[in-house]
C-alpha cells in the first residue's frame, strides 16, 4: 500500500511557464514533507520542504503548497527552465515510534522544453 503517491509519471512544460507537480498521501501522521530532484546517474538532492503546520513554503522559483484536509501537496516551479528537467520525488516523514525514515513517491519526470 503506497502511502505517498505521485500519479503523474511525466510532465512536459514549455520554458518560462509554470510547472505543477502533485503528490497525495494517505497517512495523517506525516508531519513533514519534502521534495527531491534527481538527475540521471546522480543521487536525489533536497529541494524544498514544508512542515505539516504550514500550508505554503517558498524558496526562489520553487513553492510547495500543502492541503492537509485533502492530504495533497504540490510543487510549483515558476518560471520553468530547461535545467529543471529531472525526476522529482515527493517524500514524507512520520517521526514517531520506530520510524524515522522518509517515504518516497515513485517520482514525476519533468521535461522543460526551450
Amino acid at each position: 500500500d503506497q502511502q505517498v503517491k505521485q500519479n503523474s509519471p511525466s510532465l512536459r512544460v514549455q520554458e518560462g511557464r509554470i510547472s505543477i507537480l502533485n503528490c497525495d498521501y494517505t497517512n495523517s501522521m506525516f508531519d513533514y514533507f519534502l521534495w527531491y530532484k534527481k538527475y540521471p546517474a546522480e543521487g536525489p538532492t533536497f529541494l524544498i520542504s514544508i512542515s505539516s503546520i504550514k500550508d505554503k513554503n517558498e524558496d526562489g522559483r520553487f513553492t510547495v503548497f500543502l492541503n492537509k484536509s485533502a492530504k495533497h501537496l504540490s510543487l510549483h516551479i515558476v518560471p520553468s527552465q530547461p535545467g529543471d528537467s529531472a525526476v522529482y520525488f515527493c517524500a514524507a516523514r512520520y517521526y514517531g515510534g520506530s520510524q524515522g525514515n522518509l517515504i518516497f513517491g515513485k517520482g514525476t519526470k519533468l521535461s522543460v522544453k526551450p
Binding site: 505521485q6 513533514y32 519534502l34 527531491y36 546517474a41 546522480e42 543521487g43 536525489p44 538532492t45 533536497f46 520542504s49 512542515s51 520525488f89 517524500a91 516523514r93 517521526y95 520506530s98 520510524q99 524515522g100 525514515n101 522518509l102 517515504i103 518516497f104 513517491g105 515513485k106 517520482g107
Partner: protein, 113 residues
C-alpha cells in the same frame, strides 16, 4: 565538505552470489539510510542505521542485511542474489531526519545476471 560516498559505482554479480555495497556518510552524520530504486518503482526504503544500531527496515526479505561501523560508515549485504535485485542502491545520511532531509550519495548500480 565531502558528500556521501558509495562504492563501488557499478557491480555485476551472478544469480545466487552475494553483493556487498559500502557507504561513507557525511562527517558528523550518525544516521545512514539505504534505499533501492528499481526500474519504475521509485525509492523503496531498505534499512536505517543510527549510532551503530538498526532502527528500522523496510519490506524486504532477510537476505538484505547490513551494519553500521563505529565510524558511522555502513555496509549493505544482499545474499542469494536474484535477477530482480538489479537496481540502483542509494545511501543517504543525516544528523537526524530534520528539516533538510537526507543527503544522498550517487548510488551503486547492481546488475544481477
Amino acid at each position: 565538505e565531502a558528500g556521501v560516498t558509495q562504492s563501488p559505482t557499478h557491480l555485476i554479480k551472478t544469480r545466487g552470489q552475494q553483493a556487498t555495497l559500502r557507504c561513507s556518510p557525511i562527517s558528523g552524520h550518525t544516521s545512514v539510510y539505504w534505499y533501492q530504486q528499481a526500474l519504475g518503482l521509485g525509492l523503496q526504503f531498505l534499512l536505517w542505521y543510527d549510532e551503530g544500531e538498526e532502527r528500522n527496515r523496510g519490506n524486504f526479505p532477510p537476505r538484505f542485511s547490513g551494519r553500521q561501523f563505529p565510524n558511522y560508515s555502513s555496509e549493505l549485504n544482499v545474499n542469494a542474489l536474484e535477477l530482480e535485485d538489479s537496481a540502483l542502491y542509494l545511501c543517504a545520511s543525516s544528523l537526524v531526519v530534520g528539516h533538510y532531509g537526507y543527503t544522498f550519495g550517487s548510488g551503486t548500480r547492481l546488475t544481477v545476471v
